[in-house]
Symmetry: C2
Subunit: 145 residues, 2 copies
Amino acid sequence: MNSESLQFKNYIESKGLLFTPERQCVAEEVFASHNHMDAEELLKHLKSKGSKASRATVYRTLDLLVESGLVKKIDLGEGRLVYEHTAGHPHHDHLVCLKCGSVQEFEEPLIEQLQEWACEKANFKPTGHSLNIYGYCRGCTTGKR
Amino acid sequence: MNSESLQFKNYIESKGLLFTPERQCVAEEVFASHNHMDAEELLKHLKSKGSKASRATVYRTLDLLVESGLVKKIDLGEGRLVYEHTAGHPHHDHLVCLKCGSVQEFEEPLIEQLQEWACEKANFKPTGHSLNIYGYCRGCTTGKR
DNA sequence: ATAGCTGCAAAGGCTTTGCATGTTC
DNA sequence: GAACATGCAAAGCCTTTGCAGCTAT
């Protein structure tokens, strides 16, 4: 079991819940993936690996993973909700390709700073944000439509 | 008929379509509102004013308004899709209150510039973006929970 | 025994679509 | 009368929930 799964196990058990095989499967699949996956893709992957975790369990476990802080739920807009593990990921935002659907990450600390200022000016106490840039990725730009 | 409705009429007719009373009602309601409204609220307002426009027509007309460029569809995250008219609105982003649900706008041109740079670095050709900051608005901060 | 899990299927919430009817040119 | 609009209700999509049965302690 990798370190993230172990942390999740600890989190689960610290709440007096059970670290079941289904929960472990879902967690490991999320931690193993280096893409942004939505719940349905995750379910499909699990099925193809022979896991019997149901859709309901996938959704319920994803909620637990988000609660634990080990996974973030990202709203990419256009109805796309995806999950990414947080370990080793500094804060970042997303570049969403409108042609192939791929998602890249980017970091721009100064943007964060400017957001803080904007909030101060507006007397708004921020707790989080979501920044998505839509357009065409490098691969799709060459044969751009 | 106000200037925006007139522009919409021109757009509609330039496409060989009809500027029907239903379309006019929906458009005028959107242009008259200074809030961010979702389709359902819009429909409710229209009903309360005696308009007979149906839900389907509301959705279909909103699509036309967005196509025309006179209205923007904003994804506030968390499943909230709202519309705002563009006339006289410079580009801006949104502050979404997690307690009362209110939406404020803010402008920070430098953020736009930094986004451009981030895209250049990533070889990404941007066509648009969505930036939402979540937190608590001034009113909700005083009696904050 | 008791509390916690799971899968299934049904229910939700919002948006889109098919179709029959009505309108416009 | 050909193309376009409308309302209604049904269908879609994705996510959540209720419930009966199962598992772990």
